[in-house]
């Protein structure tokens, strides 16, 4: 199958994590991974971002698929259940708001800049080497540390489930994927028209019974 330019976006995802090791301000670029899928879902009503442009998904597919770092086992049922997916989305968004709150505390001078990266919302790692002085306001750096924490945490979770289950198991409970799917559902309402082929196909009747 012919490769397209977007099949190489996994390099951008890797580069993003790599740059954050040297200058935390690069973490701001991660907002692209946040807003692009949402804009595509709201404006275009599709999950093209997940389907084509998600560098992280490609990275997992490469690592777990081609390089064989995945057991390629079926994920447990709960992982794809609605309560887990929506629950994880809620948890993720709550943690995101906490991160924004911490940024605001630094902006208002209540708290000092914390030059740490928090993994799995629990473990604080020193990350001071990636902060190079006062060229930007402290809150800008605080947001960068917070956002990088989110990106690194989700990558670690994704690698964990990649190893245990299928390469792109992260996609099953990815908060961005869940959010964009919800947006697409809301946009379509109950008006999802299946193709004629689908509607008339007897195999579907058999398999869905």
């Amino acid at each position: 199958m012919k490769k397209r330019w977007y099949d190489y976006l996994w390099i951008v995802s890797l580069l993003y994590l790599f740059l954050g090791l040297f200058n935390i301000l690069f973490a701001w670029l991660g907002l692209l991974c946040f807003f692009t899928p949402l804009i595509i879902a709201v404006v275009g009503g599709s999950k093209s971002y997940c389907n084509r442009y998600c560098g992280r998904g490609q990275f997992f597919a490469l690592l777990g698929g081609r390089f064989g770092f995945s057991r390629k086992k079926d994920p447990p049922r709960f992982l794809k259940s609605r309560w887990f997916r929506y629950g994880f989305l809620t948890f993720f968004l709550t943690m995101f708001i906490v991160m924004l709150w911490n940024t605001w505390l630094v902006l208002s001078g209540i708290r000092e800049l914390s030059k740490t990266v928090t993994l799995l919302w629990t473990f604080r790692l020193p990350w001071h080497w990636a902060y190079h002085g006062s060229a930007v306001a402290p809150w800008v750096a605080q947001f960068a540390f917070g956002f990088y924490s989110v990106m690194l945490t989700s990558t670690i979770l994704g690698i964990f489930t990649m190893v245990l289950f299928k390469p792109r198991s992260w996609c099953v409970y990815c908060p961005m994927g869940t959010m964009t799917q919800l947006i697409c559902k809301a946009r379509s309402g109950n008006n999802v028209s299946l193709s004629q082929n689908y509607k008339e196909n007897p195999y579907i009747m058999q398999s869905e019974q």
Partner: protein
Amino acid sequence: MQTVAKRVRKATVGREYCVACGCCVKVCPKSAVHIVKGIFAEVDFEKCIGCGKCARECPASVIAISEVPL
């Protein structure tokens, strides 16, 4: 003489749990799968040859290959 119905293999998507990630679309050698409005994957049965690549790739394991009468 009794006639034996010929059976073929086709992929079917469990729409309820499909996350519409598009992994199946990427691996299908016949371009038989597409995502419907960002909600779930759909298989074109005219094109599907039942090779099972999509089922193996699906991270949620919601694609089944079933033997069905022709």
